[in-house]
Symmetry: C2
Subunit: 581 residues, 2 copies
């Protein structure tokens, strides 16, 4: 036995016991007469004590141990004279009787501390050292707990986890696939799944009724900070359900995770139409921790002689409560902020609602006090508030105002990461028109059912058909999304037609699903959650990378193992492939 206890386990009640511990040297302090070593493992830190007078050899040996040495110590638990109440083991220490170096360590390239001196690149190259740090280890522990609790919840409500295949078939619809050449079928390829969508629908057709899987998915897309080529979904599907059955089931999951992982009770979920989300928040994933809803000012602001507004499709404002005192400098900074290319507004109009009931604005030349008051009323402003107004094309201006709303909330510290506001956004458009390829694309995916009441517009006005689709949004982050699916073969064929597939293309790519619809497909629907993102939301981080043990960088590389890499010519030959120079 290499240890009797972990480094997080011993308490004052263990005093007098002879114990064996093993772990890493976090730090050592040489106080002349005494040497102290903090011994660390995953579970905690325990202090080892060496007395120069009574154990000079052992003490000298201890003094030579460097940081991150792996050692085993045998000794006696004693009460500490100066206790450390912050450390659960801080009331005791070990008077070491035997000490053994299990493995020495070179000085690590960065400090193994909560706040490290290592930059991102270095930490990724030595990720195994980075994970020794508390914050990274705790992220992985949180992720583990999220997974265990997700499984237990879903298992308890009769979901079965089924593993769907990783080596599947490439379909051009959607994002770009990773391909896997087949050796046994020369010239042919598997693809890695972007999601198990068709398989989970087949599992509903197979009668499994309630399926889930925590599963790796893959997209060969150019990467951004919060995207990874491989990512993890909580993938779920249910039969014989309406939309509300699905929403209630997964509100239950969310409530369970809030309770078990964050110890938060009484979480409620609002429902908001896509239309309202865009109208009031300028985004389909509104952060509803705070109000500051957008208000349209067209009727109060246009046709009053201010050309910028008169030419605009939309004049829209928000009320930054209590900000009437903003200085010229602050307002200029905000104007610069909205003019950044990422936001793309031409300018920013402000109206200060003064404490005396008067108004001061950047467009005083064009609008009198009564007119400005009508804006303030429309935006529900009080004396002391600041109105911020943008104008321009409808879609772009709404989006820009949505961004400005978030920025103002950041400045006003209205986005507390420990407050959670949850909602479902529902009734998304079914289709999006793409000007470049001159065709419709499915906003969610081609298997999403239209809303019953919009069915008849599928021929006449496809762009205005709403989908029976929904996204779970928490604090402005899209945690997951799903839909009620098409389960009728003719309807699915119609959908492929609307998306510009020939019947032959539909058959060759999705024939197995279309065929399955012939044999008794039940009504079904489901949802998929971005597991990495949910973990990062609960952990309070913006980057999903912090919650992935071995993430890839933005070039899709694992810098630790140096992958991808070149392979032997012989391997390519076996796969009937050649590199194109």
């Amino acid at each position: 036995m290499m240890r009797t206890h972990t480094c997080g386990e011993l308490r004052i009640t263990d005093t007098g016991k002879k114990v064996t511990l093993a772990g890493w040297i976090q730090r050592s302090r040489d106080l002349g007469g005494m040497t102290f070593i903090d011994l660390r493992d995953r579970y905690g830190i325990t202090q080892l004590a060496f007395n120069m007078e009574t154990q000079s050899d052992l003490c000298r040996q201890a003094r030579e141990l460097g940081r991150e040495y792996v050692v085993q110590a045998i000794g006696k638990v004693v009460e500490r004279s100066s206790k450390n109440r912050k450390n659960p083991t801080g009331e005791i220490e070990i008077i070491v009787q035997e000490l053994k170096v299990l493995n020495p360590a070179e000085t690590p390239p960065f400090t193994i501390e909560d706040e490290t001196d290592g930059g991102d690149d270095l930490r990724m190259k030595y990720r195994y050292l980075d994970i020794r740090r508390n914050p990274v280890r705790q992220n992985l522990e949180l992720r583990h707990k999220m997974a265990i609790e997700t499984r237990n919840y879903l298992n308890n409500v009769d979901f079965i986890e089924v593993e769907t295949p990783v080596l599947i078939k490439s379909t051009p619809e959607g994002a770009r696939d990773f391909l896997v050449p087949s050796r046994m079928n020369a010239g042919q390829f598997y693809a890695l799944p972007q999601s198990p969508q068709t398989f989970k629908q087949l599992l509903m057709i197979s009668g499994l009724d309630r399926y889930f899987q925590i599963v790796k998915c893959f997209r060969d897309e150019d990467l951004r900070a919060d995207r990874q080529p491989e990512f993890t979904q909580i993938d779920c599907e249910m039969s014989f359900v309406t939309r509300d059955d699905v929403l209630e089931t997964f509100e239950g999951l969310a409530r369970h995770l809030f309770k078990q992982v964050k110890n938060i009770d009484n979480v409620t979920f609002d429902r908001m139409s896509y239309h309202d989300a865009m109208k009031y928040y300028g985004t389909d994933k509104p952060d509803t921790r705070f109000g500051m809803r957008m208000g349209e000012l067209n009727e109060y602001a246009r046709d009053k002689g201010f050309k910028v507004f008169d030419d605009a499709e939309l004049v829209v404002g928000i009320n930054a409560a209590g900000c009437a005192g903003y200085t010229r400098k602050q307002l200029d900074a905000l104007t610069d902020w909205v003019r950044r290319p990422q936001i793309g507004a031409k300018g920013l109009v402000y109206v200060k609602c003064n404490e005396d009931g008067s108004f001061k604005s950047s467009v005083d030349k064009f609008f009198d006090q009564d007119q400005l008051k009508s804006w303030a009323d429309a935006l529900d402003a009080q004396p002391g508030d600041l109105l911020l107004v943008l104008a321009g094309d409808d879609a772009a201006t709404r989006k820009a105002m949505g961004e400005l709303r978030l920025e103002m909330a950041n400045r006003l510290e209205l986005r507390d990461p420990n407050t959670f506001s949850c909602l479902w956004v529902v009734d998304f458009p079914l289709l999006e028109w793409d000007d470049e390829t001159r065709r419709y694309y499915a906003m969610h995916h081609p298997f999403t059912a239209p809303l019953e009441e919009d069915m008849d517009k599928l021929n006449s006005d496809p762009g205005n058909v709403r989908a029976n689709a929904y996204d779970m949004v928490i604090n402005g982050v899209e945690i997951g999304g799903g839909s009620i699916r098409i389960f009728d073969r003719d309807m699915q064929a119609k959908m492929f037609e609307v998306l510009g597939f020939t019947p032959e293309e539909a058959q060759s790519q999705f024939g197995f699903l279309m065929d399955a619809f012939r044999y008794g497909a039940p009504p079904h629907g489901g949802v998929a959650f971005g597991f990495d993102r949910w973990c990062s939301l609960f952990g309070g981080s913006e980057s999903i990378r912090d919650y992935i043990a071995f993430p890839k960088n933005n070039a899709g590389r694992d810098v630790m193992i140096d992958s991808p890499s070149e392979v032997d010519e012989k391997q390519l030959e076996e796969l009937s492939l050649k590199l194109k120079k």
Copy 2:
């Protein structure tokens, strides 16, 4: 709401309730006055009743529904006059008041019954229909339960599940990798993991202490009936452990699964050296549900003038208890059996131990009664038993006798699938010599530690070094295996040298692990279980395919989705690849 209850839920206590059910039509019986429909879902079957007299329209509608139609029925729960005690819902039926066809079904290509008329190929093509059958669905339910219980057990003893990457790096050592071309890094490739071996070792170096993962692994090998290109492992690793710590931990897991999944208590694990396994069972995965251990007869059988034995390296026998009455025909059949190329023996010698104490053998010409008695004594035979003896090269003959032992046990019905005999085989050889490539290969893998006491033979006599490796064997099936790992950089370098790697090759392929050993690697060891195989063992099947939702055939094809398949030229271009014609 599409249903108020499932088809497995209603009992006599629900009588009088108005309910809505939904499911598939299993069968319908038209008895003139009454029509009965068995409505099926995952949870069970409930009988729907239609009365021709009182509800003629509804009854006529019901009669037209075909097998596997998906319907919704609203009606009242009533007590059945003729009860079916075998069905949990068999005391009630539903007098249907409303009936709605949710989706019609074409006649399925095979019957959806426990015993189907569908052949293997057809069932695989329509796997979603196959899964509707009870035995297949139950296999997937068993798998789900195994996974949940595995996770709960390991979570309870402080293991953390960590997802390791799927897109990793190709290494020529071991089996053939599946490659994934990288678009962003032209000419470079990821590989799919054959196991997360190096990652789990890095997680130990990162201090995670106890790791597990239920994880897909991939091997591009030619397939046999019980191999799949993608398969699932329960992958585990622990720090600061000796071999016995690992064995005890996973005996605990096995006992937990036996109890929770099979309701079997008091499972014990024997330990047997590789040497003894080969000596007494002719295999490194002995089926110990029965004895019939092999006994060497060299000293009793050689140098007595029978040339076949005199020329043999090994004469070895088993005692088939109670088989002295075998007929000439039965013995000839056994002889034919051992001569099959898969077994490869030249012939079979038998000795009948007659009830009167005399012996009758196929080699009476060469051996007298006393000599035959010495064989019988060596094999612990009693009157009425039958000795079966093979001779030849040591390794081949042991193996053949091991097979004959299993065959005799099959004939004697000693291999009850509901009896479980568990053991660890330990002290495997570290290395295997390959005559063709004239080098040693690691029997387990290059990261396995030699036994402490054999260390010094690593230079002088590498072929006789034993590994600190172990396999879990249940009923002759290797369920899992693992080892204590090398955690010292110099020792790992030495191992690569013995395996014929140049230092440069070792560094380029496993440099990240060798480097990690510099920074304080703890002693560690682990194990990986074949999850598909464990499920099939517990489910009583010989084929892992029965426990995989969507398996591939022996050509690596998914015949349901028709994959692998050809891809667009454009996709290959993006990957800088060309097909080699």
